[in-house]
Symmetry: C2
Subunit: 283 residues, 2 copies
Amino acid sequence: MRVRQAAKASGIRAVERAVAILRTFSSGAPELSVSELGRAVGLHKSTVHRLLGTLERTGFVVQDPGTKRYRLGLPLFELGSMVVNTLEVRRVARPHLEEIHRACGETVHLGILDEGEVVYIDKIESTRRVRMYSQVGRRAPAHCTGLGKVLLAHLPDASLADVIERRGLRRFTSKTITSPKELRDHCALIRQQGYALDTGEHEELIQCAAAAIYDHTGKAVAAVSITSVAAAMDQHRVAEHASLVQQAARKISEGLGASLSIRHKEGPAPTRPVVARPSTPGR
Amino acid sequence: MRVRQAAKASGIRAVERAVAILRTFSSGAPELSVSELGRAVGLHKSTVHRLLGTLERTGFVVQDPGTKRYRLGLPLFELGSMVVNTLEVRRVARPHLEEIHRACGETVHLGILDEGEVVYIDKIESTRRVRMYSQVGRRAPAHCTGLGKVLLAHLPDASLADVIERRGLRRFTSKTITSPKELRDHCALIRQQGYALDTGEHEELIQCAAAAIYDHTGKAVAAVSITSVAAAMDQHRVAEHASLVQQAARKISEGLGASLSIRHKEGPAPTRPVVARPSTPGR
DNA sequence: ATGCCCGTTCCACGCTGTGGGACATTCCCG
DNA sequence: CGGGAATGTCCCACAGCGTGGAACGGGCAT
């Protein structure tokens, strides 16, 4: 047997292995073979094959009959969509993201912090020719992005320290903040001014303004940002973007506070749109 | 679901159970307790608890410390996003969906057929007050929706028959087509006119126009649709919507054909008889 | 208080997942 | 064209691991 993890706090081995296999798939390698997976997770071919067979019967992976290679299946997409669709903040935020987009035409992101990283949970693409590349569902470092920094700024000190320790402060550009102390000071500034700016700290040519969204308890649960190309920006527009995200974040926060009281199971969107039935196919 | 499968074609039980647990979560029940899950999948509390513990350590589920209940976790969202982000058609289609939306202001859907059902893989929400409720990632029956019918119409006869047998033709409204022969005739009409109309066949007040998108091999891989409220529609606008989806579908199809030349490794799969496989691994 | 149901933990049993091996096939290189 | 080395798939005996019953403790109605 390989080295693998120390099997310390034990879970069900087969399930852990199945998950490990699923997680081996990535955007860069969306199709993998039995042997590739075996090497990646350190398991015997036959074991991987059997696990894949089980996963295939559930639809979590599909095998290309021609190449014999495996890809992730749509049921995973369904489950994943459920996760984000049930995130209330996303539902509430959508129209406000659209409003921002109409106002400035730039790429607008909605993101949350998970395990010390930013996860994009919604996005409206810029209408401009030059765009930043991003994908909903992907992760980005927190310490050098607008979304990430504004969310870090609202973390308790201990949590921020924890994130720094676990994720480090990797340098991406000459602007990247890599000193814990400097980051902490910067976070204080962000809290004070009510928004975060990212001026090429993750990617040289990219600028970003972000503001935090709060739930009814006052906790920062998400953030909204406008991303633009640095070359197209001046003082005035930076201020405009900062103002836009702050306004939108405030409105979204209000929406979260209000809608929370009527929150329970199964939300037929009690507010605005006249709903025409959630269409549940028979089972 | 009572009986569970007869353990005939065996997979790894623990993995199957873990997947069953994950799939028990739904939009209507995004949070479940150990006991609820136990009842739902027919397993002992302790077994479910152990499985959940394992799933939690992988992040696939998270437990609310307060209520002790479980929800699906973000890593699932990431994996699910990967699935759809690697679907080329979605990337290519996006701008054209936006174009349709600008032209008519209605809800625009992009969908594919999977296991005889429609899966929504992208969507632009209507700007109107009255909206149809739908979610990306959800499924809908094929025989009574615009997207579904236009995709069924491009299936080989045998596959269509297979879908009918496996999914049935459940009645949703008085307009729903429930006769296999009638559906087949209707499909012929759809092929002839190049688009499908759904006039209240799934939900009374909802109308829909849809057209198929083809890949470079000529196979219908997806479809695009405009959904609107029947009351707001007249002959002229129906024709307009039909025309819009057809134009967009054609452009998207061209995009798929063109982009194929730069499609990296592992391109072929030119043959492949398109059968919606019953997901039975070779045995 | 008193049930009732919940989540959690523990443990001996024996079923079930394991991985080595065998095999056919495909691909690549000589 | 043929041999070698990959690959995917199948099979099987062993024992390790997942299983579920039982027991414990806490929370919430009654």
